[in-house]
């Protein structure tokens, strides 16, 4: 029986196609699952805000609580490492009490590396 007849048959082609898709997806996951979430905090004028606290909230069917927090560096950038989550919310807060909106974060798989759009904080800038 020729190879074409074996592989062209639906009982072989369909499972093989599914297996390839699954394998390909898992390889992609393996290369991108450092759990890195990075972004910046800016104020309304667009200037970076150093020293702001960024909080990551975990929310699912069962609970809604803070998971981790970090502070932005001198250029207003923040970074979470090793986050084993696929859904959550980010919020930035500054020392003078202003905070950004809660940004919903949804990932395609657990611990996906992702970069979020800047979190906007209303800071009175002298």
């Amino acid at each position: 029986m020729s190879w074409r007849r074996i592989f062209g048959h639906r009982f072989v082609a369909v499972p093989l196609a599914v297996a390839f898709l699954v394998a390909g997806w898992n390889i992609y996951i393996a290369f991108n699952n450092g759990g890195i979430i990075e972004g910046e905090v800016r104020d309304r004028a667009g200037a970076p805000v150093p020293g702001a606290t960024v909080i990551f909230f975990e929310r699912n069917f069962i609970y809604y609580q803070e998971l981790r927090r970090t502070t932005t560096d001198a250029s207003g950038a923040f970074r979470f490492d090793g986050m084993q989550v696929h859904v959550g919310q980010l919020e930035a807060r500054t020392e003078d009490g202003s905070h950004s909106e809660r940004r919903q974060l949804r990932l395609w798989f657990r611990a996906q590396d992702t970069e979020v759009a800047p979190l906007i904080v209303a800071t009175p800038r002298g």
Partner: protein, 270 residues
């Protein structure tokens, strides 16, 4: 020969097809929508569609666990079926005293629906000690009578000359089955596999009775449990439904011919 115009029939069939497909579409659109699904009026096209409900279902149900359980039970059922039905079908092609009674026995077992046996079947399974285990779920599914008769018919169609030649060559009975009869019965094997797959994949009442812990639940049980345990306003439940239906639909569409042949072989007597 003048045929009646075909457009009225097409029109009726289109309406029928639409009615048959509406449930699929309604659930699909609900699983994709980003809004509160209980708001009235529901939108025909999903607002703010996203696929993240599927991600939620995968991690939080836990879908992989239920999928694994279903796959294990189904694989056990398919392997058991292929083994036992082939053997029984081959044995029935031979002449032996009491053959008529055995055939009659099988036919009468076909008349006993599974639902008439659930209480004692539960007691027997618990007496055997396989309650809440993969074997316990798969045990009643390990053989089906329709498939035995399908194999019997298929084996009887093999020319006697081939079998006799194999006997002269000194092959043992099991070798005869594997080397000669099975390769000629590919459609019977495919029919058996697809029928067993559908019946064991979709089985709900028996796993409901036998399974006692959440980790051993199969997909249908997980679906029913989600319904009763989680109450939320997103399309997550319907994403779960779609994810559960995809394997069944894929395999059905792949093996449609064999499935239909298996179902209708019960329609032809014997």
């Amino acid at each position: 020969m003048r045929r009646a115009p075909s457009w009225p029939r097409h029109a009726i069939m289109v309406v029928v097809s639409f009615l048959m497909l509406v449930p699929f579409y309604w659930v699909l659109k609900t699983s994709l929508t980003g809004e509160n699904i209980y708001a009235f009026p529901p939108h025909i096209v999903p607002i703010d569609p996203h696929l993240f409900h599927y991600v939620d279902v995968w991690y939080l149900i836990p879908f992989p666990r239920y999928l694994l359980n279903s796959v294990i039970v189904t694989t056990m059922a398919i392997c058991g079926n292929l083994l036992f039905n082939t053997a029984a079908g081959y044995a029935l092609t031979k002449q032996f005293p009491g053959r008529r009674w055995v055939v009659l026995l099988f036919l009468s077992c076909m008349l006993i629906p599974f639902q008439a046996t659930i209480i004692p079947a539960y007691l027997i399974t618990s007496w055997l000690g396989v309650l809440n285990s993969y074997l316990g779920i798969a045990l009643p599914l390990l053989s089906t009578i329709i498939c035995i008769f399908i194999f019997k018919a298929s084996f009887e169609a093999v020319p006697r000359s081939l079998i006799d030649a194999a006997r002269v060559d000194g092959l043992s009975e099991w070798r005869i089955i594997v080397r000669i009869m099975l390769p000629l019965s590919k459609s019977a094997i495919a029919t058996n596999v697809i029928l067993t797959f559908i019946w064991s994949w979709n089985a709900f009442l028996w796993p409901l009775i036998v399974i006692r812990t959440p980790e051993m639940q199969t997909l249908p049980l997980g679906l029913a449990r989600f319904l009763s345990v989680m109450e939320d306003t997103t399309g997550a439940l319907f994403a779960f439904v779609v994810m559960v239906l995809i394997p069944g639909l894929t395999i059905f569409l792949m093996a449609q011919k064999e499935f239909i042949r298996g179902l209708t072989s019960g329609a032809t007597k014997g």
